[in-house]
Subunit: 472 residues, 2 copies
């Protein structure tokens, strides 16, 4: 620890108390590496205030002393967004002790939640009040609200209620100048210039440290049904989704996967079995819910709508879950995909991309063809949130597989995927953000945009106090 | 016209054509004054490109020559947001020729609209497709989409679908560096850093010139019913609103007014009559809609819910419109309020303020008491969008009335109102924005916020090219 960092740590200890500092290297260690083990940083202390005034105090001190801070929640970033720089110049500012659900307002259907609350815990807290926070994702047992807001998180249930941005009514944050921005004041209408709330959502902790958020809640689920569909193509899948959405607003999930991915799961994950007999080029998982007993049951609704789509030849075959256990079994196949793909097919470059929804089927086939032609022997696999125009686009090494394929050829493959996405008017980061991983690619492909982002960053955080090296 | 402005005008004429410039003072005149006649500016030309590339070209030229531009749509700002500076240093950039509804996507329920499209025309265009754009306001016959997005406009129908920000899916704009930001690309998920779209919404044309927007549409109204309620207090009005919202999500309007305001309308506007017999301290207008014939009819729904509220003593008396003509008659009372108040009670300082919704009843009575005590003889009147926590808070001169009351005492009264609002955690601009009118007050009351806004402005528009003198 350099003397300046030591001064900061001493000040924080004396003003807030022993518990506000972790300096034991063994305790710090797990927080220096991102959760996929790709980025390793150094930080000689973790500061962990437990209230907004304490966060403001830590930030004011860090600012005076010129010590950069890396805000961290559950450390579940997929792009190295919460890993400290490897030169040890920054300390980690953990929000994990700010873990209170401050209030749940049943009438207004919203909750005020501190940044360190783990998503799964929020789900349980609002469920106890008969309500639901709809956003969910694989890392829900670790990911915290502050990080989810800071990255405008997505997940498997974005279709109906949108990503985090659509669920945030206000943000409380400490800005680089040490002031507290209070966006939880409950104003439905406020036109006092640029929205600081909106600027902080998705800013990856580079403009302010989010300490709490006011989040929308929705009615609890009364019942749900999950259908598994066999389809001839992604175009058929998209037509199916549009047809369902035209008839009901209760479609909460729509995920697609190719046949070989299904079979990778069946081969790799014990206890799984194919939901449908026979083979289909593509599969889709559809979830429909009801909020009360007066609504047509999800099972009846799905049966009615899917019957018509099978009759029209848009859906080849379909089965609807007959129990909650079967619904879970269908979702388990989807949730095991990444792991099964990796185990079955070996290394692959992975891309979290989006294009306009209606263009996705054509993009998937055209881009796959182009990549496989440019890198003979590779194989492209796309799966995921078709209904959001967001596919996880994997390029497997295939016949080119070697010990160092990912390191050697991965970056070139990724560049080409990103070029194709950009040419299609898409985004090289649909839900994971930019972090460390995509910073150079963003600058290469969107230089105008990066210039604007950098100008904003320099304006609000001129000394680079927050999350150095990320995003901009 | 100074030589630099003349060069810009000549260049625009030669590159885009004669129609792109208005230089006749008589034609310019109406656009130099805001629509309430409070601010007068000077500008020796109006530039009016008709496409996004033309806007980009005009802005690139203006930037090279250092001529500031005042973006203007329908010029309906309530705060002088579109009036040029009075030193003649800027030219007006009118977006009115960009008046195409580019596309209406019925399946996706959205539309791409150019900045110069007048709100009323958009309503008609989407109605022809069986859809509806829900935002509406008094100036709908003049206000344009670019201005409505740039000011995050509100209005009388915000309750259900939110203000403009909630209805914008993407923004196309020319930034000060001359680049075109294309937020209409149709990406549902895009996490490439700070949201430029969100930064431009409500920025009052100071960060970019909006050329088009992608807007959400909702189903057309199949039927509606409007009820007029007599109430004992604003607290009773709020309880009524909460009770209705707990039972249905189809409440689209909820406006309150005091008895004397109703009687001002009845006395001033011919053909109006009191919807209810007897006197009530407060009145509320409630609109409920249905999107299809399968839903319980709005009349039945309102009758059922209001009957219960009358039985509980929350609502004193109520009448439901028995025809569309009667529904219109109820709304006409509401829409005539400002005019009738002015004609009946003379000058008043007017404040477009918001506080947390649940605090509004107490704020209205406490603030009225404080103002009337500080300025004996004045009388406070509040009316409007209670359901949004947004009231138009008028302080009438009353016994202090004199020729120059507004000019003499108005600013002091306004300061006190704004102090009370700020102390209550509210906003001094709920829906009208800051413009010229509230700039000094915003700086007085929210200096931290103004510092952040100025930093962003300086970062993105360092030479002050766009809308000089507004907001920051």
């Amino acid at each position: 620890m350099n003397p300046t960092q030591q001064s900061l740590v001493d000040e924080v200890r004396s003003r807030i108390g022993e518990r506000a500092v972790i300096a034991d290297p063994a305790e710090i260690e797990p927080w220096l590496t991102d959760w996929r083990g790709r980025w390793h940083g150094r930080a000689s202390a973790i500061l962990q205030p437990s209230s907004t005034p304490q966060v403001a105090m830590v930030i004011a001190l860090a600012r005076q002393l010129g010590v950069p801070l890396v805000p961290q929640g559950g450390n579940t970033s997929m792009v190295g967004g919460a890993t400290p720089p490897d030169d040890g110049s920054a300390l980690i500012l953990s929000l994990r002790r700010m873990n209170r659900v401050r209030a749940i307002d049943r009438a207004a259907m919203r909750t005020d939640v501190e940044a360190g609350v783990i998503l799964h815990n929020l789900h349980e807290a609002v469920a106890a009040e008969g309500l639901r926070f709809p956003l969910t994702l694989g890392a829900k047992g670790s990911a915290t609200i502050g990080g989810l807001v800071s990255t405008n998180a997505g997940g498997t249930q974005v279709l109906r209620f949108g990503p985090m941005r659509a669920l945030v009514e206000g943000v409380e944050a400490v800005l680089p100048d040490g002031t507290v921005h209070d966006g939880l004041c409950g104003l439905k209408k406020d036109n006092r210039g640029y929205s600081i709330d909106q600027l902080l959502i998705g800013a990856e902790g580079t403009l302010g440290v989010i300490t709490a958020a006011r989040l929308k809640l929705v009615p609890a689920i009364h019942s749900r049904a999950v259908a598994w569909l066999g389809l001839s193509s992604t175009q058929a899948a998209l037509e199916t989704l549009y047809a369902l959405q035209a008839q009901t607003d209760r479609v909460e999930g729509f995920e697609v996967l190719p046949d070989e991915s299904l079979h990778a799961v069946l081969g790799h994950v014990s206890g799984t079995r194919s939901p449908l007999p026979g083979r289909h080029a593509w599969h889709a998982l559809v979830e429909v819910v009801a909020e009360n007993a007066e609504q047509e049951s999800p099972t009846d609704l799905l049966a009615r709508l899917l019957e018509a789509l099978v009759a029209k030849g848009i859906v080849t075959d379909a089965v609807i879950s007959s129990s909650e256990a079967q619904a879970e079994a269908f979702w388990r196949i989807r949730d095991s995909l990444s792991e099964a793909e990796r185990a079955t097919f070996g290394p692959a470059t992975q891309h979290d991309i989006s294009v306009p929804i209606s263009d996705m089927p054509r993009f998937m086939s055209d881009a796959a063809e182009a990549i496989e032609a440019a890198f003979p022997g590779t194989h492209v696999s796309g799966f995921g949130h078709l209904g959001d125009g967001n596919i996880h686009f994997h390029v497997r090494a295939g016949e080119r597989r070697s010990e160092d394929w990912l390191a050697r050829e991965g970056p070139v493959v990724t560049e080409m995927v990103h070029d194709l996405v950009t040419a299609a008017g898409g985004s090289i980061s649909a839900e994971h953000g930019i972090g460390v991983m995509k910073r150079e690619e963003l600058e290469r492909l969107c230089p105008d945009r990066v210039r604007a982002l950098r100008a904003i960053k320099a304006a609000l955080d001129p000394t680079g106090l927050f999350n150095p090296g990320k995003l901009v």
